[in-house]
Symmetry: C2
Subunit: 216 residues, 2 copies
C-alpha cells in the first residue's frame, strides 16, 4: 500500500486552471457578448502554451460558454431572443426542481447564510457593479441548490448560467436597477414557512423575471 506523504492538493494541471478561470469570468459576466479570444492570447495570459489553452476553450465551447466560427475563431456567444427564452425556460425547469428538493433539507443556518448573501447582492446593486451582482446572485441560488444533493442537476443549471453569462452582463449593464431582488425575499420566506408551492413559484418568478426583459 502507498503510505508515502503524497501531497493532498490535486490538479495542478494547466488546462484545468485555465478552464476554471475562464469559466468563472464568463459565468460572472466579465466578458461582453461577441468578445473575441485567441489561443495564443489565453496562453500568454495564463502562462501556458497553446495546447492546454485549446483544451480549455474546446471544453467551454462544448458547454455553450464560447462559440467557434466555421474557421475556428473564438468568441463569447451573442444569443438570439429565442435562445434566451429557451435558456430561461431551462433555468425555471431545473431550478424549481432543485429548490423543491432542497426544501426539506434547508435548516436555519442555510437560510441565514442566504440572507447574508442577499445583503451582499443589495450592496452590489448599490454600487452598480454588474459582475459582483451576477456573482453574488448566482451564489445565492447555488447555496440553496447544493442542499438538493443532486450534482448532475446542479451541473446542468450551472451550464445554463454559463451560457447566459455574457448576455446577463449586457442586460444588467444597461438596466438601471435600484432595488435588490424582490423575489429573493419571497424565496427565503417560503423556505422558512416550508411552503413548497410558494417556493416553486418564487424561484420560477425570480429566474424568469430578470431574463424576460433580455428580449430587447
Amino acid at each position: 500500500m502507498n503510505l508515502s506523504p503524497r501531497p493532498v492538493e490535486a490538479t495542478p494541471l494547466a488546462h484545468d486552471r485555465v478552464y476554471r478561470r475562464l469559466r468563472a469570468r464568463i459565468m460572472h459576466g466579465d466578458l461582453p457578448p461577441g468578445h473575441a479570444l485567441t489561443l495564443r492570447g489565453i496562453g500568454k495570459e495564463y502562462e501556458v502554451s497553446m495546447t492546454p489553452a485549446r483544451e480549455a476553450v474546446r471544453r467551454l465551447a462544448a458547454e455553450g460558454a464560447l462559440t467557434m466560427s466555421t474557421s475556428g475563431r473564438i468568441s463569447t456567444p451573442e444569443l438570439s431572443n429565442e435562445r434566451i427564452e429557451e435558456l430561461a425556460a431551462l433555468r425555471a425547469l431545473l431550478e424549481v426542481e432543485l429548490a423543491s428538493r432542497a426544501l426539506p433539507r434547508a435548516h436555519m443556518a442555510l437560510i441565514e447564510r442566504m440572507q447574508t448573501i442577499n445583503t451582499n447582492i443589495a450592496e452590489a446593486v448599490a454600487h452598480r457593479d454588474a459582475v459582483s451582482y451576477i456573482r453574488t446572485n448566482l451564489e445565492f441560488h447555488r447555496t440553496l441548490y447544493l442542499r438538493a444533493q443532486a450534482p448532475a442537476m446542479l451541473a446542468m443549471a450551472e451550464t445554463v448560467w454559463l451560457q447566459l453569462g455574457p448576455t446577463m452582463r449586457a442586460l444588467y449593464g444597461r438596466l438601471r436597477r435600484t432595488e435588490p431582488p424582490h423575489f429573493h425575499r419571497l424565496i427565503i420566506a417560503a423556505l422558512r414557512a416550508g411552503d413548497e408551492p410558494g417556493l416553486r413559484l418564487a424561484v420560477r418568478s425570480d429566474v424568469t423575471q430578470g431574463l424576460r426583459m433580455l428580449a430587447s
Copy 2:
C-alpha cells in the same frame, strides 16, 4: 463577395470526427461501464495523432460520457444508484417538457414516422440486440423532441442519454425482454388524440420505467 466554388461539406476536422464517432458508440451502449480507453489507442483506431484524440476525450469527459481518474486514465463511467436515479429524474423533467412543446407541432407524418421506428425497436428486441435497441429507442424519442424547436433543451437531454449509455447497455444486456416498449404506444396514442396530460404521463412512465430497474 466570395463567389468561388467553395466546397459545401464543412468539418473534415479530425477531433470532431473522433468526437462524433466515440460519442455515438458510448450513447448507443457499444461500450460497457468501466471500459478503459487510451489516447494512443483511439488515435490509432481513427488514424489521427494524440492531439485530436485528447480533445475528443476531454470533451466527452466534460459531458460525463467518460470519466478520468486522478492520474488521467480514461474509462466509461460506472454510475452509482443515486446517480442513475438522478439522471432518470432529469430525463423525466426534460423529456416531458420537450414532448409537451412538440405536441402542438406534431402532424400525422411525424406520428407515422415514429410508428415505423417503433416497429424497428420491436425487431431489435426480437433479435436481442442491445445496441440496436438503444439506438432505435433514442431515435424514437429524438424524432419527437426535434419538433419542440428547443435545441438547448434537446442537447441537455442527449447529454443525459450519453451519460447513461454504458449503463443502459449493462441493463438491457441482462434484461430478457420479449415485448416491445408498451409506453411507446401510449405516447403515439396521446399524440394522435392531442392529449397533453396523457402525453406527459406516458413519456414520464416510459423514461422512468426502464431506468427504475437499473438499481440492481
